[in-house]
Symmetry: C2
Subunit: 465 residues, 2 copies
């Protein structure tokens, strides 16, 4: 298929239907008037507005969201604001016929599903840049900036880029993904003009990359100095001290670069298709054969905000990874999964699930005084001490060689760096290298099966056959 | 036991008995007169002499050796000399009632056992230093030097040092041992005065060590420059350009340093006792349990001089070791054994006798052109390709993971660095990681059993309990 055909078909995939658009508009209208009604008489609640992709007409099909913002007087304390927004948000969602759920990000907000559309009621302070008081205060400025710059024919270009990123697994600034936010895709279209130009430029990126639409920095060097550890720097047009791409990890960035290159070489509609259905257990069995897989599965006692949980999972995954490495295993890869309620799983692919029974322990050169201590200490070593070159050596015998038991012992004795909120759940976790028990876990959960299939195949979506 | 008592008892161990001394003297007399008789009329054979420990009265009990040297005119070609010495030596040994064996070192010599005494008939050229024509030409000068310097009461001090070194496993300059020659021990006693002083000094050595009895070099630095890679430099008093300790490896030197320190701390007669008897198979079974041992056993078609064979074995052992390392194994230790006739064995202790089924293969960063080639090449990888950071990775699957089969294949295809003289025998060798078959081999040979016990215990004699 030619590139033109592919992009034309992709456009039809990402563009909302008339029906969907009308449904969203209707709900937005209702939500805004409900919000206006509810804030009247609430001290400090100044105004309401629509933000996000609905406001900018850049949402992609099937992902319609109404982000209703309530603007507060800066005189209101954070504590009061949090109390008021939970109360206001709940009443607004209820008045629309939805069931309010309290969600937690930087500060709480209220979510409800109304006729298939996600309605979020979010608080922000009405402040002038750069006097931000909370993380959501920039959002109205973001909306205003994009609306003032984005030409109507660029809306679908944003949608194409979002759809491409989504199918490639790099869309989403949340900690789970560490990828590209909606706002960031809009800035990229503003900068490069259209989807194909953006993809062409991205395919040639070599990190670190600097994009400074408003030329706040006099040179790339200055911007790099301001954001020293970011592989991708997109200076926020509404806040010169903020990198709008701060959430993007080097891995996600690299995936996008590679995906762009492959797409340009061989355009295909699969770069816009949603991911595969959950695989069957039989397929997983084939994938896991001969692999050295260790897993840690556990249940949470208490729910927590998604981003908090994902942060804890990722940090703890790294802690366990380091612990396994220090035990003597090589960890090829690792991953985390959660249903974002109670069930959690961390998974590690190792060079083997057993350590060698003996390992080399190198001593000092014979002519150092410490050689005598070494001899004393290791006089009952399993093998040795012997001398090679000028040094002493012994082989130490391990009583325990199984990865899952070694890790369990380290977890039990508190030697593994685990996020505070997961210490207790992981102490009670199942740590195992048994593929059968893992597949049994997965048999009960489609999403876990999908995660496992992706982990075991170890190919980003755009490299799958 | 006090140091005095230990040394006194050691003296009795190392000093030859009256009987042994008389037997040696008698054989020396006979051998010398036989030699004188035989050379008369042989063109170019100028003189005969007694050399070695018998001449210097420094041999240790049970190791009586008569080194009969035939001095040749430098006008005689090397080829002629070799022919003549084989002929002369054989007749001399026969006339003493021994059975002549032709031995090979730098040039051939003839050996025979007569009444329990080893008689060696060796050729040398009569030349003035430093116009050496063959490796044995220095020997008469060594004898003369030691005789002119060594006081009679130092003879037993040499014997003590030899006995100590022998029991510690560091005595012998041959390639098998890479240790201390008899001449070297004599030089050490000349330098330090007596056995205890020598051991005290040695216990404080920190290589590199320089000993220059005749002060041929103006400073230690100059001597170090002249012999840059030697951990121990003992400038030969009869040849300033020769290191009399060139054969000593860093390992043997370090063992002697450590043995000296331990002996001084806790004097014991076991530092002069010969090594243990051959262990029984049952003990070997206990030692080998749980270990990852690979062995290569083979038979030679053709005999060869000891030093040649040991050189080939040690170089090939290192070649196989490097090959195993490059395959992905960790080689903790290795060793070689031979009965010095046909049977040979090389043995390797590994971290495991199986490689992991999968191994990590790191690709280029995504932004390099070579990333495309990597993707092409590894599109059918067992696991991946995936991206971490800015790089591509795959896991490669190994079809073969067993050390012995992997090594066999490498040997077969000529990828292992093996001494030329062992290539064919090793191609036909048994390469195995099966302990039972190894023990079966050892059950037929005391010396191999002893070697295996020492290899598996991996302690030098002076560290054994």
């Amino acid at each position: 298929m030619s590139m033109e055909d592919v992009v034309e078909r992709a456009r039809r995939i990402v563009r909302p239907t008339r029906l969907e658009e009308r449904a969203l508009r209707r709900i937005v209208e209702k939500a805004l008037s409900a919000a206006r009604r509810e804030i009247s008489g609430v001290a400090g609640a100044l105004d309401v507005s629509l933000e996000g992709s609905a406001a900018k007409n850049t949402w992609i099909r099937g992902r319609a969201e109404a982000d209703i913002f309530i603007h507060f007087d800066p005189g209101i304390s954070r504590e009061e604001l949090e109390k008021i927004i939970v109360d206001l948000g709940s009443r607004i969602v209820e008045s629309l016929g939805g069931e309010p759920m309290i969600m937690y990000a930087d500060h709480p907000y209220v979510e409800g599903i109304v006729n298939g559309v996600t309605v979020d009621v979010v608080a922000c302070y009405r402040v002038e840049p750069p006097n931000w008081m909370s993380a959501t205060d920039r959002t109205p400025y973001h909306t205003r900036y994009v609306l003032s710059k984005l030409k109507p024919d660029q809306e679908d270009e944003v949608r194409l880029l979002k759809g491409f990123m989504k199918a490639c697994g790099v869309y989403g600034a949340e900690i789970k993904i560490e990828g590209f936010s909606g706002y960031l895709t809009e800035l990229l279209i503003l900068y490069y003009g259209d989807f194909l130009s953006a993809v062409r430029e991205i395919s040639c990126w070599k990190p670190p990359i600097v994009i400074d639409l408003e030329r706040y920095y006099e040179s790339e060097e200055r911007a790099l100095e301001a954001f020293p550890d970011s592989p991708l720097i997109v200076v926020d047009p509404v806040d010169r001290s903020r990198n709008a791409a701060a959430a993007v990890s080097l891995t996600r960035l690299s995936e996008l670069i590679l995906a762009s290159r492959i797409f340009l070489k061989k355009p295909s509609i699969r770069f816009f298709k949603p991911i595969d259905p959950a695989p069957r257990i039989k397929e997983l069995k084939g994938l896991i054969r001969d692999r050295s897989i260790l897993y840690v599965s556990f249940k949470l006692d208490s729910p927590r905000p998604r981003d908090v949980l994902w942060g804890e999972l990722k940090r703890s995954e790294q802690g366990i990874r380091r612990s396994l490495e220090s035990l003597g295993f090589t960890v090829y890869r690792s991953g985390s999964w959660t249903d974002e309620r109670r069930e959690c799983l961390m998974i590690f692919e190792l060079d083997g699930v057993e350590l060698p029974r003996h390992h080399l322990h190198k001593g000092p050169p014979v002519y150092l005084r410490s050689a005598d201590e070494f001899l004393e200490k290791w006089s009952r070593a399993a093998v040795g001490p012997w001398i090679e070159g000028d040094r002493l050596y012994v082989l130490r015998r391990r009583e325990e060689t199984a990865a899952h038991r070694l890790l369990r012992e380290r977890v039990r004795s508190g030697q593994v760096s685990i996020s505070k909120g997961l210490v207790e759940p992981i102490k009670r976790s199942r740590i195992s290298a048994d593929a059968r028990s893992l597949l049994k876990l997965a048999s009960r959960n489609d999403d876990l099966r999908r995660f496992l299939a992706e982990f075991l195949a170890a190919r980003p979506p755009f490299l799958r056959k």
